[in-house]
Every structure is written in structure tokens, then in C-alpha cells.
Symmetry: C2
Subunit: 269 residues, 2 copies
């Protein structure tokens, strides 16, 4: 397997729009990702020629923001340089078969071969999109994939017009990346939840932990997580571990997880 | 139990040193915390009158930086306003019995009653001190505890000369806080390690996840971790969960943890 690599930043938009290539895009979907992405693409100078959504309300709302037509009928899709499919994973197949021009999906967990045709690809921005929080794409890694050289070139240009971090990653790698994202982010957040529960039960403001949590997340920019590991497990401090297990005696879920996560750290030391 | 609260910032050092009270301190220990803390205290205008360490090399090295005498003999300790005991948890009892003036320990996991005497307390900076990384105490929460009014006042003043975030927290709360810190930071870092392992095995640069990890840690400053939770578990996206479990088929440790952490998130939704 080839190592995924950061693509050289060949595309550049200055005030003079040097090297700028405008892409005409049909946006498939009007949910959170579709909205954020199409607004960012439009702001970067690309032309969203149509928004499709099953929901008239969603399609209409987004198309107003983009100042473009919308449709709720797949048979009425306007052909363009590229259809960007930003719908839920399960809906991709249903919509893609109606698209007979270049198309990409935006899913972290679906393979490229879910799309039929010669000019197909993936355009996956690796970020957790929360409602009502506006996304700055410039630091969000965008992972692209296509076996079609011409489309790949379009995708690189498009991605680099949004983000400094554009990677070429194949479908198998992307599935693993998505899994790694769930583990490092969703499960970390669960650890914050556990900590918050303990704080609340003991009348400790959770804000006390904010700095330490930020620091832990920052450290891995400079050190590998393995090198960054601190705490009783990696030090083999059995007294503290025993003490923590005693504190958790009445919370069997947390006590059990504490044990196995501590063992995981120990086994890596 | 009383709710731990942020103490009002009554102490203030301006260029004119308004309200400044210099504390004369005997530093017990010359390890990482002792070094960082004594240098910060000295910089804040306090007087470190002596450094004690079992190790001549460590004591000598730190005392040179502080321009003060040092000793390796507990019987030669110089009495001062306050002894700050910053040694390993297991060594606290052995050293504290030789100190016959006001003293605090700096441990997150030891109760105040480990110290004998009338003027005893705890001065616990909540941070993970990594070797060779200089600590900025101004944002580090400092948790203080003392039943002695006079000493408590000294500790508040001392803590507020270092940090904007000074909390009064009792021993039971501090033990829980320490546990919450281990869970939210050491175990999060383990999640980063798992993700890094998956990336490495699949030739994906781990840096791809940096932004998402920072974002996850940042979010809990504005939303509770419960509100911040995203991902397939909280959405109940069984297809992706199944897919991830299949990917992890040959890594039984991660597969098992994925299952139980996913269930933990589901049970909270």
C-alpha cells in the first residue's frame, strides 16, 4: 500500500487569482456537510449551479444562500463539471445512479466503487461537523481519491482552493482513517464525559480539567502519543491505580474500563 | 460536600507590587515538579531559602538555578514560612516528619492528613509535568486546602501569585479530581495511541488527525462533553459500527474496546 502523502500546494489564489480554475458544481444534498461545503466552495470562487435535496425546504434554504436554482427531483439534475454527493452514507447509492457526469462522494466510510461510471472519485473533508458551528476549511484535511487522472486533477485543484492540507488516500486507507478518527475523537470525548460525571458527583467544576485536556491534545503535535503518555499506568504506580479502583468501587462500568485501559497502557510501556 | 469554587482574585502583582506578600519557602524535592514550581515561585518574587533532595546532584543543580543553599540531610533543614513538599507520593511521609514548621504537600492523590502538625495544607497544581517542557503556571489551576486559617491565607496568596485559577478543594474532592484527570487525559492519550497505531499500519500520516483532535478538546470549553458527543455510536449508525468492528477483526484488544466504548456512548444517548 502506498503511503498517503500531503500533496504539494500547487494551487494558489491570490488577489489576482493566479492559477485559479473555477469548477461548476452540482451539489447533491442540503444537510450540514452539504451546506458548509457548498458555501465554502462558492466563497472560494466556484460556481454552484444547482442544489438537490429530497426536502424542498432544505433545498430551497441552501439555494437561496448560494443564489442558485434547486430541485427535489433527481431527473431534473443540471449536468456540470462535478456532482458533489454530500448525503447520508445509506442514500449515496440511490442518488448516484441518476448522475451521468463526473461525481464524487464525501463519505469517510464508503469505498469509491460505490459510485458507477468512469469519472468517479471521493472528496472527504476530515472533520466533525457540528450544527450551528461555522467551519473554517483552511485547516481541515481533505482526502481525495480517483482513478481518473483528469478528475483527480480537478479534485486536487478544488480541495486546494479550500484547504492547505490535501491528501491522496485510497478507499481502504480512508476506512481506517475514519475508524482512527472515531477512536481518537469520539472515544476521547467519552473520556471527558466520564471525567465530567465524576466532577459533577463531587461538586468539582469540570473547567478545572480544561487546561489539562487542551495540553494533552496539543502535545501530540510535537510528540507521538506513545511518547506523550503520562500517569500512573505508564509509571506503574500501583498505589494510585489501586486507590482509583477503590474510588470507583460503586461505579462498575468506570471501574472495569479503568482496569482494562490501564492494562492497555501498561502493555505498551 | 461543599462545591469547589474559583477563589476571587484578591492578590495582584503590578509593576508597583501592590498587595505583594513575599513568602520564604523551603523546597523539599528537586525533581520535575519541584524544579518547575520553585523556579516559578522565585520568579514571582518569593524567596526559596533552601532546596532539599536525597540526591546531591539534583539538589545542587536546582539550588544553583535558584541561587540558594541546598542540603541532602533532613536534619539540616532551614525553617521558613513554608515547606513545599514536592517529592513522590510514597516519600511524603518519610520527609514530612522532619519538618516542624508550616508545610504543604503537592500531591493530587494524597489526603491532607498524611501531614502531621497544626499548620499543614495542600498546594496541588493540576498539570501533567513533562520533562524538558517549561510550564507556564498562569493558566494551571492550583488547588489548595488547609484547616488552618492563617496558612490557608498564605496558600491563597502564594497560589494567586502564580495562577489566575486558584480553587479551594478538600482531600476527597482532590482524589476524585485526580482520577478524573487520569481518565480525561491519560486515557484520551491512549485513544490517540490506538489511532496512531491504526494510521501507521495503514501508511496514513497521523498528522491528518491533529486538527480533529484539537477541535474535540476545544469544543468542551463551550459545550459539555455530553453535548459535544458526535460519531456513529451517538447517532446509532449500526452500519458504520459493524464496518469498524470488521476492520478490527484481527486486533481483538481494539475490537473489544471499540464495542464497550460504543455501548457506553449509546447508553448515555
Amino acid at each position: 500500500m502506498r503511503t498517503a502523502k500531503l500533496l504539494n500546494f500547487v494551487f494558489f489564489i491570490s488577489q489576482k487569482k493566479v492559477y485559479f480554475t473555477m469548477t461548476k458544481i452540482t451539489m447533491i444534498g442540503a444537510g450540514h456537510l452539504a451546506s458548509q461545503l457548498s458555501l465554502a466552495l462558492s466563497k472560494a470562487g466556484h460556481h454552484i449551479c444547482q442544489v438537490y435535496s429530497r426536502s424542498e425546504a432544505s433545498a430551497s434554504q441552501l439555494s437561496k444562500k448560494l443564489n442558485c436554482p434547486h430541485t427535489t427531483e433527481l431527473k431534473n439534475l443540471i449536468a456540470s463539471d462535478l456532482a458533489v454527493i454530500a448525503v447520508s452514507d445509506d442514500a449515496i447509492s440511490q442518488v448516484e445512479k441518476h448522475i451521468h457526469f463526473a461525481k464524487v462522494h464525501t463519505s469517510g466510510s464508503k469505498a469509491i466503487n460505490l459510485l458507477n461510471g468512469n469519472k468517479v472519485g471521493v472528496f472527504y473533508p476530515l472533520q466533525s461537523f457540528s450544527k450551528n458551528i461555522k467551519v473554517d476549511f483552511s485547516n481541515i484535511p481533505i482526502c481525495i481519491e480517483s482513478d481518473n487522472k483528469e478528475l483527480k486533477s480537478v479534485l486536487i485543484t478544488l480541495a486546494q482552493s479550500l484547504s492547505k492540507k490535501v491528501y491522496e488516500i485510497n478507499s481502504l486507507q480512508r476506512c481506517h482513517l475514519h475508524l482512527a478518527a472515531v477512536i481518537s475523537c469520539n472515544f476521547s470525548n467519552l473520556m471527558y464525559t466520564f471525567a465530567n460525571e465524576i466532577c459533577t458527583q463531587n461538586k468539582i467544576p469540570f473547567e478545572l480539567l480544561h487546561e489539562l485536556i487542551q495540553e494533552t491534545a496539543q502535545k501530540i503535535k510535537h510528540l507521538s502519543p506513545q511518547e506523550s503518555q503520562t500517569g500512573p499506568a505508564i509509571r506503574g504506580d500501583l498505589t494510585i491505580i489501586e486507590n482509583h479502583l477503590n474510588i470507583l468501587a460503586e461505579d462498575s462500568e468506570k471501574q472495569y474500563l479503568y482496569k482494562i485501559l490501564t492494562n492497555s497502557i501498561k502493555n505498551r510501556s
